[in-house]
């Protein structure tokens, strides 16, 4: 936990960061083993968890860990991700945003409209993954469901899993693209300039002491 630095703002608190990086580890294992079964060409991806059998045993537990981590994130971040009137401005300017144009003030709060969409899609996916995953969990629950339900569960699990993996790929890319983001999630701190540039309304609220972190 770094000390407050000159011209830096605490963007993500310690427990939130810890939760984020724990989810990263668990999601890595759950997603790679999941891909190994969805795309058998990538069957080697289950090897991160040992043998294919071990991957099958562990995959659901990593998935549940991701769900629990996201429950904490939901509690911490939900109120920052509620739709705001100003989100419209971001949507209207999505092309200059993606072009890296910082000249316009887009009245972005702690999270921009794209991040909000990501937040809700992640939450929706994990709920589908949890429910369908429990139903198809052969070791404990699958025997209690008729086969047509298992088929639907496997399909829903695949759709939500692929969807979530694509979302997270985008999330990782955007974190790499926007310099300072990963440092922000590791140390918790972003520069005031970074905040003003990417989250102008939030930066102003922080400055004036109106916003929580």
């Amino acid at each position: 936990m770094g000390k407050p630095k000159k011209d830096q703002i605490l963007r993500t608190k310690f427990l939130e960061r810890l939760c984020h990086w724990s989810i990263v580890v668990c999601f890595f294992f759950a997603a790679t083993s999941g891909i190994s079964w969805f795309f058998p060409t990538f069957s080697w991806m289950s090897s991160f968890l040992g043998t294919p059998q071990m991957a099958r045993v562990l995959h659901p537990f990593f998935g549940i860990a991701v769900f629990l981590g996201l429950c904490y994130m939901f509690k911490r971040f939900m109120h920052h991700n509620l739709p705001a009137r100003t989100d419209k401005i971001w949507f209207q300017n999505v092309v200059p945003v993606l072009a890296g144009d910082h000249s316009r003030k887009l009245r972005i709060g702690k999270y921009n409209a794209g991040q909000k969409v990501l937040f809700w899609l992640i939450m929706a996916s994990i709920v589908v993954l949890l429910i369908s995953g429990l139903i198809m969990w052969r070791a404990y629950f699958a025997e209690y469901f008729p086969i047509w339900v298992l088929r639907l569960a496997i399909l829903a699990h695949s759709v939500a899993g692929i969807g979530l993996i694509l979302l997270i790929m985008g999330h990782i890319y955007l974190a790499i693209w926007v310099r300072g983001s990963i440092t922000g999630m590791v140390t918790g701190y972003v520069s005031k300039r970074w905040a003003a540039q990417h989250h102008d309304r939030w930066a102003e609220e922080i400055e004036s002491g109106k916003a929580d972190h």
């Binding site: 052969r138 694509l166 693209w177 310099r179």
Partner: protein, 313 residues
């Protein structure tokens, strides 16, 4: 069966097929003539003996079915149906249930583990239990509700059609032991001819709808039935009339999978193109870990900051 006889394997791309040059072996089939089965269960005993299966002792469930259902350690089972038709005629129908060894096996299609389910050139569909992970996808893939997952070792099991006996020129244990000759075994062509003879006999005896059950929806099966009422297979303990791999399983494997592959490739390509085109999104003051010193950016935005500077991020 040596590995050269495997002509199809689960979770294997058509671009990298199983060994195929010796795929001219005679296809085999087991023909179960329901009309001459007496329900003695000798086939169940023979199956357990040959395959060394020791299923749990169960309770009587009030009908002759014993055990009550297929089980990881019960690969074949007589199912008894008391059927009363519209003319009040009573029939006791006995069907030996078990893997049908589909030509187009749903279990093999659904299985995510390369080579955990294979099909031999003679048509037999076999589980390679050492590779099985116990995910249960074969259960979802099967149109006949046959595979069972063991609670003991979390692996899927079903009838092997005695592939080990077939490999040394023996008939399956159930066929060998059947005292009435209700279970015949031979080449698929021979079995179809035999079935035609039996169906003609049944027709003569007044079973107008007698026929061979070799469902086309799964490409035909390597276990076939002669049924007195082939127009209504459902009456034989729910034998499906037109079994097919579920459209949900087909959609998952044949639509979602390629669509997801394209989506993934497009996403990676788009992100790479975006990064190459736009470059890193740096903070205008060149975001400095010690905080800005108020200097304005000296570099024009097209001048991309060297990656190494951010490697630590």
């Amino acid at each position: 069966m040596n590995s050269q006889n495997i002509v199809r394997r689960s979770a294997t791309s058509e671009l990298t097929p199983a060994p195929d040059i010796r795929n001219h072996q005679m296809e085999v089939a087991k023909l179960i003539d329901v009309s001459i089965c007496i329900g003695c269960k000798a086939c169940q005993v023979a199956c357990n003996e040959w395959n060394d299966l020791r299923g749990p002792v169960e309770n009587n469930v009030g009908v002759y079915d014993n055990p009550a259902d297929l089980h990881p350690e019960t690969w074949t089972l007589m199912r008894f149906t008391e059927h009363v038709d519209e003319n009040d005629k009573f029939e006791w129908l006995i069907r030996k249930d078990g893997c049908m060894h589909c030509e187009d096996p749903g279990c093999l299609k659904a299985c995510p583990i390369p080579g955990a389910i294979v099909q031999y050139a003679n048509g037999v569909v076999d589980f390679q239990s050492d590779l099985c992970v116990g995910c249960g996808y074969c259960v979802a893939g099967c149109p006949f509700n046959v595979p069972r997952i063991s609670k003991q070792d979390h692996k899927a099991y079903k009838c092997t059609l005695c592939s080990d006996r077939l490999a040394v020129g023996q008939a399956p244990a159930c066929a060998k032991t059947c005292p009435t000759g209700a279970i015949a075994f031979g080449s698929k062509e021979e079995m179809k001819d035999l079935a035609a003879t039996r169906v003609a006999e049944l027709n003569e005896r007044g079973y107008e709808n007698a026929g061979l059950y070799d469902p086309a929806g799964v490409g035909g099966t390597h276990v076939m039935y002669v049924l007195q009422h082939a127009d209504d297979p459902e009456r034989y303990a729910g034998l499906p009339k037109d079994p097919k791999i579920s459209p949900i399983v087909e959609g998952w494997k044949d639509l979602l999978k390629p669509a997801a592959a394209v989506a993934g490739a497009v996403a990676v390509g788009a992100m790479a193109a975006h990064f190459i085109g736009v470059g890193p999104n740096t903070t205008d003051d060149d975001d400095h870990p010690e905080g800005s010193d108020g200097k304005l950016p000296e570099e024009p935005p097209t001048n991309v900051t060297p990656i190494s500077k951010h490697a630590a991020e």
